[in-house]
Point group: C2
Amino acid sequence: MTKPRSIDWNGCPTRYAAGIFGDKWCFLLLRDVLLHGKRTYSEFLGSPEGISTNILADRLSRLEAAGMLDRQTDPRKASRVCYFPTRKARDILPALIGVMVWSTKYDARTEAPESFAASFQSDPVGTIEWYEAEIDRVDGEIRGFARG
Amino acid sequence: MTKPRSIDWNGCPTRYAAGIFGDKWCFLLLRDVLLHGKRTYSEFLGSPEGISTNILADRLSRLEAAGMLDRQTDPRKASRVCYFPTRKARDILPALIGVMVWSTKYDARTEAPESFAASFQSDPVGTIEWYEAEIDRVDGEIRGFARG
DNA sequence: CTGGATCCCAATAGATACTG
DNA sequence: CAGTATCTATTGGGATCCAG
């Protein structure tokens, strides 16, 4: 009887969060799906960090199991799979942006990624209005995809 | 100290953040030092997640190298070492609290840790006043320690 | 004592080749 | 395109040792 190596990861919000965000690849995938609008396996694979295929598959299924990603196959073309951020994932956006603002402040060499920088200058990112609009926009995207 | 493989991990704020927070143990150590007031090696070792000694030493040095922890030895007793959160680390508090609020919302089984729950109810956590007071309090703590 | 360093070896993460 | 399979590299647990 193998003794469980890990402890109960629930019962503490930071510990719960550590299980999701305390992983380099999950963190970056959430960036891709929430801020860069990436949706497909090959789009994620194309990120400059160079995730490998098995790791990508593993993290996508972890994030799906955690209720952060909604996996949908195109009704007309089964080989086309899209991963959409769930409401739960989109609710982390304010904190994620907080982290990015922090990073930008403390690492002089960092630059905001295109979509972040662009939207940050032209849109009221962080306001309730922007946030709710983003929620609605992705909801519409998912419905459109599911209808085919 | 593992050599970064292929890509440049700077140049993007999320990527930079992933290098610091995208690690389970760093994430939890920051919780301990920022929200539970833990300062010493043995206090960190006593956390319920059960970090092992080699990993703890490695992560403490990583966080020190990243400018998140300030390592101080007691002027009167060299064997007593304290790790204080730097200003840089304390500046992540608002985002960290945002993550905790998110976790608490989405995992029904999670409970806020004592110090978080207590301060959240009795103090105006999240306000500029609370935040600046916390900055000053830890600054005083560090000065007091360094004076002996 | 406290704050580590080191070693062993189990378990996990990850790069690459390959497949339906 | 969206993943498996395989094999190697790194991380991590636990015991032990060491220095101040």
